[in-house]
Symmetry: C2
Subunit: 308 residues, 2 copies
């Protein structure tokens, strides 16, 4: 529903000169006096994003903050503050609130973010957390989704697939990586992978008014994607998991070919590889590059997740 | 749980120089480059703040935005933008999302606020809405809760009680009133009445390190409080409703006696009366003024509602 609703929403909302980046990107950007502020919100619910009976509430709290930090990373923004609203099941509400916050604090400290306020509620329903994160644009300004151009290279950080086994809770949002890349290279466009590598690459292309072709042989596959494919072959190949699982929270970037070459030579992120995984093309849609030719590729990945 | 948890939270959170107003006020204030931004979040849940089976979803959407505007009013801040995160019951999710937004839009336009982003989710639980609103400090800077001094007069806008009959959904947040008052008068402290007149007056006093004495004979009672008292005498008197019902979303202000006199003479808010309803006193706690003497008054009102 998300994408379709967002399109409808964008059509309905009047343009506002203070809104430098409108709904539909990883975060919105507002102009405030002389400063820009980057704002993103993500709401997590029991049964969709976590299972309280299975997952340590500290991990749930950490994830709620981390997905927002990942959105700030996708804008190449520096984290400033977060606001945490929760609907807590009545039973054990106080302990649960403390555990959620205890899971957020180390991450907030690591990324220099202030937990600046919130709203705690108890009710008869399951746990819901909504985190709003604010940031300021990094060295290259706000990184949009709409700046990819046909001919640009699609670059990815890290590896993909199998996040359900652990990565969805213990990933490190690519904030430092995004800021470092934005400082050293001209970046055309960026997104973080929450819905799935293939579909988020398509989102980047669609927002930029072009298409994207993945070079499937180059997609970096996470060990947990291999493990899932081995343990449950009916669930698809490791590549299927890499393309479709989502919640990798890696960055996809559009950069000019000469920038991609420099990135590949310099590998500036140390232990985190930067990989060329495709090209932006004129023809709208999602494609695969096979022996130099384009073939259509069906998008995979969840549609449940948030934008801005 | 809210107040106790907030106290615990404030003890746990490291101070942050960018956080001009920390958690516990009606909103937080962040310093961003040269500008300050006022941020507040409120989360509303089915069964606590509304009943989807009874209340038009447009009214629910309007209320979710209006309670945040009321928090900005309590800081004497000018609204800028709102971010809306929702957890929607799967059945009819799209129609519900559209109705919620349709309820927000007229209010957003009226107060010059951009609906700048959000996060729509569907799940198997009941409706949850979380709205984060951003504003900029008004003419007198951010109005805090902690600036009341013993001897200050407690002033109130409008009238109190019986909000459950209609006012909780159709109130107009006191944004314009707050900005006008902040421009014309020095204001010591302010809060909006969400938990209840008596308990929110006490919040103001506690944050300011003093007490407050209400002059019960002067409390302006709303017609709906009279109606409730008449129709259900077991529920308390009209004054009980005025003191304890909550969700009046009127402003309580602490001002110096000479400022109060000017306000009362000038009645600058037109149809909305400004009334003197008490005094801040040295002795901590909630009191009533009776024939010049202080008597203890038990706080009433909900503890469910939000801060910052």
């Amino acid at each position: 529903m998300e994408r379709e609703f967002l399109r409808w929403l964008r059509g309905r909302l009047p343009g506002d000169p203070r809104l430098i980046v409108p709904p539909g990107d990883d975060a919105a950007v507002l102009r405030l006096g002389g400063s820009d502020v980057v704002v993103t919100v993500d709401l997590l619910t029991e049964g969709v994003d976590f299972l309280l009976a299975q997952h340590d509430p500290r991990k749930i709290g950490r994830k709620a903050l981390a997905v927002n930090l990942s959105d700030l990373a996708a804008m190449a923004a520096r984290p400033l503050a977060a606001f945490v609203a929760v609907a807590l099941p009545r039973d054990g509400a106080r302990e649960l609130a403390e555990s959620l916050l205890a899971g957020m604090q180390p991450l907030a400290e690591e990324f220099g973010l202030a937990i600046a306020g919130g709203d705690t509620n108890t009710w008869d329903g399951p746990l819901v957390l909504s985190v709003t994160a604010l940031g300021e644009p990094g060295p290259g300004g706000s990184l949009r989704r709409n700046g990819a151009r046909p001919g640009d290279v699609l670059m990815a950080t890290g590896s993909f697939g199998g996040s359900i086994l652990a990565h969805q809770f213990d990933f490190t949002p690519r904030v430092r990586e995004a800021l470092l890349l934005a400082e050293r290279y001209p970046l055309g466009a960026g997104i973080d992978v929450s819905d799935g590598l293939a579909i988020d690459a398509l989102h980047l292309a669609e927002e930029s008014g072009c298409g994207v072709a993945l070079d499937l042989a180059r997609v970096p596959i996470a060990p947990d994607a291999e493990r899932l494919a081995f343990e449950k072959p009916a669930g698809g190949t490791a590549l299927d998991h890499a393309l479709g699982d989502g919640e990798d929270f890696e960055l996809l970037l559009a950069v000019a070919p000469e920038v991609a070459r420099r990135m590949l030579d310099e590998q500036p992120l140390g232990a985190t590889p930067l990989t060329e995984i495709g090209r932006f093309v004129d023809a709208p849609g999602l494609w695969q590059l096979r022996q130099g030719a384009l073939t259509a590729l069906a998008p995979r990945g969840w549609e449940h997740r948030a934008s801005s």
